[in-house]
Symmetry: C2
Subunit: 155 residues, 2 copies
DNA sequence: CTGCTTGCAAACCATTTGCATCACT
DNA sequence: AGTGATGCAAATGGTTTGCAAGCAG
């Protein structure tokens, strides 16, 4: 669990929040989902770990965890995505045709981001960009290189 | 109205849809909003033009107009955005601090998009990207160069 | 005329909120 | 013990749907 080395207990307490099993389970769930955790994903994971945790508790836990900075939330077209703060930074290319998600290192965009900053004096918040498009396989119908059309996550 | 030169009547009819005053008003609304029309914007505009048009009719009209290609819909974090198909293509930089929206020409990103395509064999759907970040003024608290903190749209 | 469209109202569904109870600290 | 957190249930708000009546073709 990549959040173990962080003293999340301290972080929560120091900001006036209590450390509860529910919050830790939500934190674990976000952690286990490694970077692309939609609320639905988190809820499923949390319910797997402890079915007795209420939906509203999950919403409130995410709110608190985000507030204290343990979790980062990225808004994107499909909704919000949560991940453990500080996890390896990267961006995603999601294929709108097959659903595949490609991961590209942060460096791949840094030049572009610098350009925009230079030309437009605008600093792009590059925490976790998600760009949509189509992957190679989907542009070459003949080459059916990937068979699972649903959820392929190469985090 | 930039859609007048398109024979939207033909386009609708040829795809088996009827041309109704409601649909034309929704089309006008999207057109008048020039590029960043959220559903809320459209609903407001439509109700201004004709208060008797029902909310669900607007949803259904947008669905049809998008389906026939008269309107383009871009999904982004804040929700969907509609615009008349073929309007000048550009991207946006929205400042998360002051709400200002900067417009950058499509060309500003074309190099970057080509890079990603070359390196990752992935074609970014670059219809209308909206990138978040902070503008110059918001990074220099001393220089209060813009006074309106709410909605500044430089389409 | 015929069938697609509309307006209305009800259904939906994710998220939020109020409140009594529970449990960290 | 006291204050914040939880679970439950109900409220909310945007979007969708079923249906009878209304128009476009």
């Amino acid at each position: 669990m990549s959040h173990e080395n962080k003293d999340y207990i301290q972080i929560l307490r120091s900001q006036g929040h209590k450390v509860t099993p529910q919050r830790l389970i939500v934190l674990d769930a976000v952690c286990a989902l490694e970077g692309h955790a939609t609320i639905a994903d988190i809820q499923a994971k949390v319910h797997f770990l402890d079915p007795s945790i209420n939906r509203s508790t999950i919403y409130r836990a995410l709110e608190v965890l985000t507030e204290v900075g343990l979790v980062t939330e990225a808004e994107m077209a499909e909704g919000k995505i949560y991940r453990i703060a500080g996890e390896a930074e990267h961006h995603h290319l999601t294929c709108t045709s097959c659903g595949r998600i490609l991961t590209i290192p942060k460096a791949a965009l840094s030049g572009f981001i610098a350009d925009i900053q230079r030309d437009y004096s605008f600093v792009i918040a590059a925490d976790h960009l998600v760009l949509k498009g189509t992957c190679e396989a989907c542009r070459q119908p003949g080459i059916d290189s990937h068979s699972t059309p649903e959820k392929i996550l190469d985090t």
